[in-house]
Symmetry: C2
Subunit: 340 residues, 2 copies
């Protein structure tokens, strides 16, 4: 059907090995022969079969990317950027959408990437067993989320600092009843919600504000969850005058809930998010911005570097990307309403 390396060899009057070497830029082929082979290959529309070459060489030139939810803005954006870096370097990407516990489990027990990828970029946090499974692949590993793990290159942000800047902003505006909409760490072994929560508590303590558990709600990192969580918070005996949401999506859900309750933002309640979602600007959301696409690109680059030079040690610790608080229109001083 499609041309094989032998067809090219025959047509060019050389051996298959020479064709292989010529096309891949390996030494041992004269320039003359090389260009002639290139011409013949082009004319025949020849491309080496990936299965055959990876079987023979052990190199697959493909990267496995593990994502919890492709459809979510954050992950889609990271994936987008990472894919561009990989494909520019000649790598293909195998995508695994591991949102549900079920698919996730199946992935890690069957490990379909075995012998199929040269590296894996995980956008989800593997637990200990899962990390071990990944390490058993014997390929470079990277992640853009969660804390450092042995064997993984991680590029991320300073969750504490980001959260602190957000909550401190609220404190500085004069808020005392500051709620938080978080995502449960749940079975995902995700350290992010925990880090952010700790930072939130620290800022409150620092400001001499007593922590009120009724001011925390779980928003599941989704818009709907954020809406539910905000609704919960509003039902408290003394609702918050400001809310810090651990993601913009949850913040937007909160905005929706507030609108449904006919509460004005920021007059009645201030809201600050996290991420600087593409649409945060549209709704005027104050948020802490992180370079999402850049994180994906950087993680991809670090992976490629390790592939180019297998002895190179993976970067130690965590590569930190800058964050910054973006002030927009959902935060303001609390409305004065009589004595505290």
């Amino acid at each position: 059907m499609t041309a094989s390396i032998n067809d090219v060899a025959r047509a060019a009057g050389v051996s298959a090995s020479t064709v292989s070497r010529a096309l891949r830029g390996r030494p041992g082929v004269s320039d003359e022969v090389r260009s002639q082979i290139a011409a013949v290959a082009a004319q025949l529309g020849y491309t080496a079969s990936r299965s055959a070459s990876s079987l023979a060489s052990g190199r697959t030139y493909t990267i496995g990317v593990l994502v919890p939810y492709v459809g979510r803005w954050f992950f889609g954006t990271v994936l987008d950027a990472a894919e561009k870096v990989f494909s520019a370097a000649g790598y293909d990407v195998l995508l695994y959408n591991l949102g549900s516990a079920e698919t996730r489990k199946r992935f890690f027990t069957r490990l379909p990437v075995r012998k199929r990828v040269d590296a894996v970029l995980s956008l989800l946090i593997p637990d200990d067993a899962e990390s071990a499974a990944l390490r058993s692949l014997g390929v470079p590993l990277a992640t853009t989320v969660g804390g450092t793990r042995p064997g993984f290159t991680v590029v991320g942000i300073d969750d504490r600092a980001g959260t602190e800047s957000a909550v401190r902003h609220l404190v500085n505006l004069g808020h005392r009843r500051i709620g938080m909409i978080s995502g449960a760490s749940g079975p995902l072994h995700w350290t992010t919600p925990i880090e952010r929560r700790n930072a939130y508590l620290d800022v409150l303590a620092d400001a001499g504000i007593e922590h009120d558990p009724a001011l925390e709600a779980d928003g599941d990192y989704t818009v709907e969850g954020g809406e539910r969580a905000m609704t919960e918070l509003l039902a408290a005996s003394r609702p918050p005058t400001a809310v810090f949401a651990q993601s913009d999506e949850m913040a937007m859900g909160a905005l929706r809930a507030l609108r449904r309750h006919r509460l004005k933002v920021p007059e009645d309640v201030s809201v600050v998010g996290f991420d600087d979602h593409e649409l945060a600007d549209v709704v005027g959301l104050t948020t802490v911005a992180q370079p999402v696409a850049e994180q994906g690109a950087e993680a991809a680059r670090l992976l490629l570097r390790q592939l180019d030079d297998p002895d190179a040690a993976p970067p130690a610790g965590q590569v930190q990307m800058p964050i910054r608080l973006v002030l927009r229109e959902t935060t303001a001083p609390p409305r004065p309403r009589g004595p505290q």
Copy 2:
């Protein structure tokens, strides 16, 4: 390093062929031997090498998915749903992010999916040369966007009907100066913008409204583009009292522009979008909803069906998914301001 089929065969005291047949559920193996092999394989942590098996069998059990922009909500959502269907059926997905003309060109000339996939799902519209290239792969093809093409099974929506319901809604509210923010069809050979534009023109004509070219602007299907386009429209000598945006993202950009111009929505200008973006509800956007994830899932299912039964003809024409106008808070009758 990792166990091969021969290791399993040796450990089980059978030949490699028997192992292969046993593990893949092929006939010719007694139940007794089969289960014993399964046990040995599990104990050794054996998984067949994909490269080797696809080299030998010609089947790759992977699907190529072509996406223009993974990070955009629409495509991310389609991809998410499609991936779930594929992986549930035991297929892996190879992702190609073909947003720029450059990567796109490289993809179609080098055709890296050759001999690597059993089918391809294209979320972008290939031009004639590109379709021919894809057809030359000799595998089932599907797409979720654009018109019907020979050799492709396409699942989509009725763009005309969707647009008509949106624009008619504006007409029925009493609007006469109705603008449109579209996406240029450009080099993407995308029929969607054209279909929608035609429907827009038809509704206007039907309502006896003269078409004003100054009321059309290109929003590039992005938020920023939508904002620019809206700004353009507002600069017209007689700006529109209502705008139909061909996507929610552009509609949201328009909303932002309006806010910047201190114009109230829907009092000063009505806005209706297209897609029912996940966040459309947050901003209260009236829009025509289409089942985005379902389209991806359905396309994936149709592809799998063709793979199961290679002789089955691909579904003729286009599979149409339902659409529906979702009324929210960005549309209202035009503000009466003196004689027309």
